[in-house]
Amino acid sequence: MTITAPERSRRSLARGALLFRWIALGWMAILAASHAEPMRNSPLAWASIGAAGAWTAWLTIAGKSWSWRVLFFDLALCCWLVVCSGFVVPEHTIATRAFFATAYPASAALLWGVAHGAFAGLFAGLALSAALLGSRLANGVHLQDLSRTAWQSLGGSIVLYLVSGGATGIVSALLVRTSEEAQKATDALIVEREQAARLRERESLARQIHDSVLQALALVHKRGTELATQTPPPAAEVAKLAELAGEQEAALRSLILREPERAPAGQRSLREALEAISRSVDGVPVTVSAVGPIWLPRGKADELAAAVRESLANVAEHARASRAAVFAEEEGGDVMVSVRDDGVGFSYDEHALREQGKAGVLKSMKGRIEEMGGSMQIRPAPGGGTEVTFHLPSA
């Protein structure tokens, strides 16, 4: 699995938050150990700190993904740490005691902010703030009895929680956006380079073909003149000359037929793929007709073209057809390709194919298309022959 640039920047932010978590854990343990007065419930305090330590260790080792389950468990644990400090310190003293859970719970707000942005961070901060009020109640303090300074310290803590969640969220979103933009710029550069490479390849191809065309023309000229003096001209030699000219014509035509179309990144023109295939089929003349270039993800275009190649090979081998026609169109998110021949028909008869040990060909063709969420139908073509139709969602 490859990690995208936005994911990378999010993870480095998370590593920073994890470091903060370890430091806060250590500080919490030091505060608990150096607590001057006896604790109200010291087993509960140490059990909670132990749980936080185990959780931190798990996050460090295994916590690569932040599923909602992980996030909510983390938030619940941190809220509990806040509330439990109310149970731990002597009653009515929480407002004046430096209680040990202050810093560690902020990690939950950080994690939420990193994972899902500012609003998620603020939500976690609010939950922690509520837990903070709960800790006062757990300590036997009624909120209406709180002094002005007690409210001020409470407010300070709440602001800390909200700011750590919100700020991390903003930073995280910004980082993700920036690296997304960087990624896009890199992608565009790659596409441009690919295009330049294609153009160069095409130019060198053009040079080669021009070269061979010139050579062939010179040969046709020379041999043609010589043959014209012989009566009767040797048929085999004349035929060879014609064949040579024909080959050059085909090569030149494939080059000048159409400018290579500017493909969107990672896509391929189905029409080009089908035209390339039709030129490679021996034994039956093939026409290709497409409504527009039809852009598809490269893998899809290749698979479809491969299935068409197998159909055409089957036509050439079994159908005894005088011609075959490939037609492709895209309408409403559905790509349709049909391969039609005017041969003897039943060339795809499953029973007959199995007898020839060729059922596998049919199956692989069908399987490939169905794997991509498409379908394949075979029916006798009106007027003789067979029509194979492939349907495939284009998205």
């Binding site: 035509r253 026409t287 290709v288 007709s289 409504v291 527009g292 049909s338 005017d342 009106p382 007027g383």
Partner: protein, 218 residues
């Protein structure tokens, strides 16, 4: 379909190619090549003098292009049919030629028996539509429809017929499949061509009007 040989004019800037085509056509015994021309301007003049039934037109011509010559010849003598015989299948050229009024188009690599057959069919009023041309025309109509839904498009039946042509079916096979006569299939194809040509004329007119209005404002 016998009777008098079909009167054909061959337009191409390569004399050797003209000789070859003439020999092929006349050896079939059903065609009489009554004129030849080596560029668009000459083609327009010769067509006026010799009144061929079918013009075999190359697109890549010096001075006046094949598309322009096609337009002018059909404007002057609407009964003359033009069949494009071109070396390259440049989409834009082919579509322009059809819009200019050509009744069909064949690649120069088409075997000569098929060329002769297409000449006869075009003379008889049956457009020579290759599957790939049908694909181009379908694409053209869809592009126009997506740009401006008010433009006259294809009827569902015309769309069906054009798709079957693109799939490589002959008119006879299409007729059997749709339970209509071959003549009706021909009419559909002719209507599709006419719509293309009408749209072209409409575009030109709109362009002229815009230019005229611009000038009036000056």
């Amino acid at each position: 379909m016998s009777g008098d040989p079909i009167r054909v004019m061959v337009v191409d800037d390569h004399p050797m190619w003209r000789d070859g085509v003439r020999a092929d056509l006349e050896s079939s015994g059903t065609v009489n090549v009554v004129a030849e021309a080596s560029d668009g301007g000459e083609a327009i003049e010769r067509a006026r003098e010799s009144m061929p039934e079918v013009v075999l037109m190359d697109l890549n011509l010096p001075t006046v292009s094949g598309v322009e010559a096609t337009r002018r010849i059909i404007e002057e003598s609407p009964h003359i049919k033009v069949l494009v015989l071109s070396a390259s299948a440049e989409e834009a050229d082919v579509l322009e030629a059809v819009k200019a009024g050509a009744s069909g188009y064949l690649l120069k690599s088409t075997p000569s028996s098929e060329v002769t057959d297409a000449v006869r069919r075009v003379r008889d009023g049956e457009p020579a539509f290759t599957p790939s041309l049908a694909g181009l025309v379908l694409d053209e109509f869809r592009r126009v429809a997506s740009k401006d839904p008010n433009e006259p498009g294809l009827t569902p039946r015309e769309n069906e017929v054009l798709k079957l042509v693109a799939k490589g079916y002959t008119y006879r096979e299409i007729a059997e499949q749709l339970f209509i006569s071959v003549k009706t299939v021909q009419n559909h194809v002719q209507n599709i061509l006419t719509k293309l040509q009408l749209r072209k004329r409409y575009e030109l007119m709109r362009y002229a009007i815009q230019r005229g209005l611009d000038r009036a404002e000056d």
